[in-house]
Amino acid sequence: MYRRLSTGISVALVMVLGVAVVAQGQDRRTVTMSRQVDNEQNVDVNVRYAAGRFSIGPAAPGVLYHMQIEYDQGVFEALVEYRGSSLRIGTRGVGRHVRLGRDHEVGEMQLALSRDVAMDLKLEFGAVRADIDLGGILMTRLEIETGASQTLIDISEPNRESMTQASMEVGAADFTVRNIGNLNTPVIEVDAGVGDIELGFGGDWKQNARISVDMGLGSLVLRFPRGLGVELLKDTFLTSLDSEGLVKRGDGYYSLDYEEADYRVTVDVDAAFGSIRVAWLE
């Protein structure tokens, strides 16, 4: 618990220091790239993006990926590598310049991924404002790591592939996930340091799931749809709970129709210093 807290604080420090790394007289570079679907069955996609705005959406038919990225080439360099069904894409720091000034223009990365090829998706963000729509993208695995970011993830359409596991590691962030049910996975792990976390359990549920939330410092909002069987377990320290619509039974809190629900989710929260609030989607 304290390790997570210290991790979160470290990430927050990095964020604060990162704010100082702003560009002046930037040397902007725009890179656009795309690749057609060939005979790929499954692609490992590793996206790394250090700072700026980031978005993901589905690509046009026949396109494996399409990316447009704009960055300061004095600070970052584009990273694109497609080799043996493994795609590494994004930016990385060149470590040469730390520019100070006020005229900061953040970079931007837009990525579109195929709807036709299954993907093991790993997303790593630094100080990023991310708007991610994973709806319609075939995912067999999802791994998200964020630093100091403001992240909105929406799985707007059901994942047609069954995913073994989804994991989200959040540093110091404002982190929102919507339509988790569309992920189509039995296991979801959320490891959060410092920040406000909002998990929306809407979507098309096709199986039961267990969601583990490990939170250091911050607030957690859980939004459940009516009709979904909810079991909330918590192991908390100095954390308040507003469990509206749940009844306590033994060590857990349950939705009223838990026994009759077609699909059930167990949310296991381990938190310190913060609050947990339950809300219901109408």
Partner: protein, 554 residues
């Protein structure tokens, strides 16, 4: 000047070839599987990857027109060529596959261009058309097809396409063919040539990426690029022999009819004297590095010697560590006893205040912590401003001594009360864990809870002291010290904030008032709370017919 001439020669070579090259635009499209565009102030680059594995890169970068890594000419930023190329990239930025290939193939050199710009634009145009047209010739591979080009044959298209595919050689060709009569010429690409003893060849013979062996007669010049030339005894060349990155063997060239001219590429030219100089520099550098390393090593050893001597004069280190550790543990125990004594006083004299503060800290530690942090920052300014105000009011001078002393005392008492309140919460949490050996802890007893909490908060310090006595556990000791600092600071800040929020524990229901942090959100629903409490005492799970607090409200 030399660069300019070199570039001019290159462009002249291109102009010659482009002039005789028919358009390949009517061929079948070559599928593009991947494309990449990079645009910046100094660069406008296009990279294509084809389905057959070939690649093409065209870039206008740093004032040079580069095709597959080789500079073909120059441009100026913002000139007509730069503008036209950027315009093309802008048009295709959202295209892929078929539409992309079609857009690139249909691009034409703008008619407004002149001189070198026009030639380079035409070169880009032809390069794109060639690359995007399915043909036997692969654009990016150096393994070109073996072809013999006869300049007297009208249909040169396929042959010249193959020649164009060797762009790495064309720059040098333009240079070497300057004074050569190409009207009657034979060009051999990737195919070894033998002029047998009974054979006679008229006109210029150009051999590219291949070897030539002359046993008979060549009535003209011989040009060999990237290969070798052998003139055997009896063989004859009446014109000049030009060797570009090529070797020569056979009879003494001075016995032949013309001159022998050698041309080497810059990247292949090696200056022996420079190489010797580099070796000497390397030896010097190695000597310096070894000397510096030896000096550093000696210096480190001497420092360690001196350190050890100093340590031994102060006593045996492990014993001192154990002594320090025991001292620290005793210090922690004394602190525990003093805090417990304070807790006893607080429970005896201000139990209600203590519990109100503890309740506030437990309900919303985040807010209490933030308020505590803000309050800590404001303590000193408030104290100073109070002093100034009392002095300025003249009448308040009487109260100044009290303010000087009592305000810090009040702050210390508030922080202490807050710390004890948080310790109470921590103690209750520990008691609820049902830890073996701690069954005697009763959370209902306030004093027990506080002392347990104090013990828990001090446990980090004690652990650090104990680990400090164990050799090689310094890191873990430091880790526990850090945790101890974090726990103590957090407890004091949260507790102090709760003290401020509850006005020293005299206003326990601060959530009920106009709370800017979301009083409504945080205030517990009394009906629901009562229902949940009732549920906790019921063994029967809530079934479909069970009424919840919310439903009762309806």
């Amino acid at each position: 000047m030399r660069d300019y001439l070199s570039r001019a020669r290159q462009v002249a070579g291109w102009a010659l070839l482009i002039a005789v090259l028919p358009s390949a635009g009517s061929g079948q499209a070559r599928p593009v599987v991947s494309n990449q565009l990079a645009i910046s102030q100094t660069e406008a680059a296009l990279f294509l990857e084809f389905a057959d594995g070939g690649t093409l890169e065209i870039a206008l970068r740093d004032d040079a027109v580069v095709i597959d890594g080789e500079a073909q000419g120059g441009f100026s930023q913002g000139d007509a060529l730069d503008t036209a190329w950027r315009s093309l990239l802008g048009d295709i930025i959202s295209l892929s596959d078929g539409p992309l290939g079609e857009a690139l193939r249909s691009w034409e050199a703008p008619s407004a261009l002149q001189d070198e710009g026009l030639i380079l634009a035409q070169l880009l145009d032809h390069t794109l058309e060639d690359a995007l047209t399915a043909a036997d010739a692969s654009v990016s591979t150096n393994a070109g097809p073996a072809l013999v080009i006869d300049a007297t044959v009208p249909d040169l298209r396929r042959s010249l396409e193959a020649l164009l595919s060797r762009r790495d050689l064309l720059g040098r060709l333009g240079e070497v063919l300057e004074a050569v009569d190409m009207a009657t010429s034979r060009i051999h690409i990737g195919e070894d040539v033998v002029v047998s003893s009974n054979e006679s060849v008229e006109g210029t013979m150009v051999v590219i990426d291949a070897d030539a062996r002359i046993e008979g007669l060549v009535e003209g010049d011989v040009v060999v690029v990237g290969g070798s030339l052998e003139v055997v005894r009896g063989g004859q060349v009446t014109g000049e022999i030009r060797l570009v990155d090529s070797s020569y063997e056979g009879v003494d060239p001075s016995t032949l009819g013309g001159r022998l001219i050698r041309i080497e590429s810059d990247d292949q030219a090696v200056d022996p004297s420079a190489e010797v100089e580099n070796l000497e520099n390397l030896a010097d550098r190695i000597r310096r590095e070894i000397r510096d390393e030896l000096r550093d090593e000696l210096r480190t050893e001497l420092q360690e010697e001196f350190q050890d001597a100093g340590e031994s004069s102060r006593g045996y280190r492990p014993l001192r560590a154990i002594g320090n550790g025991i001292g620290e543990v005793v210090g922690s125990v004394i602190t525990f006893l003093l805090l417990s004594l304070l807790a006893l006083g607080a429970v005896y004299f201000a139990k209600d205040n203590l519990e109100a503060v503890a309740d506030a800290a437990q309900r919303n530690p985040m807010r209490a912590g933030m308020v505590g942090l803000a309050g800590t920052f404001l303590v000193l300014p408030t104290w100073v401003l109070g002093c100034v105000a009392l002095v300025a009011s003249v009448v308040g001078l009487i109260a100044l001594p009290f303010w000087l002393v009592l305000f810090p005392v009040a702050v210390a008492l508030g922080a202490g009360l807050g710390y004890l309140a948080v310790a109470k919460n921590v103690g209750e949490w520990v008691a609820s864990r049902n830890i073996n050996g701690l069954e005697w802890l009763r959370p209902t007893n306030t004093l027990y809870a506080i002392t347990a909490g104090i013990g828990t908060l001090l446990a980090f310090w004690v652990s650090a002291s104990v680990l400090g006595m164990v050799p090689f556990f310094g890191f873990f000791s430091g880790l526990f010290v850090t945790l101890g600092i974090v726990a103590t600071v957090a407890a004091v800040l949260i507790g102090f904030g709760a003290v401020l929020l509850t006005r020293g524990g005299r206003q326990p229901d601060f959530y009920g008032n106009d709370d800017p942090f979301g009083g409504g959100r945080w205030a517990p629903d009394r009906a629901a709370e009562e229902f949940r409490d009732a549920e906790e005492f019921s063994d029967t799970p809530a079934g479909p017919g069970t009424k919840t607090g919310d439903e009762n409200d309806v």
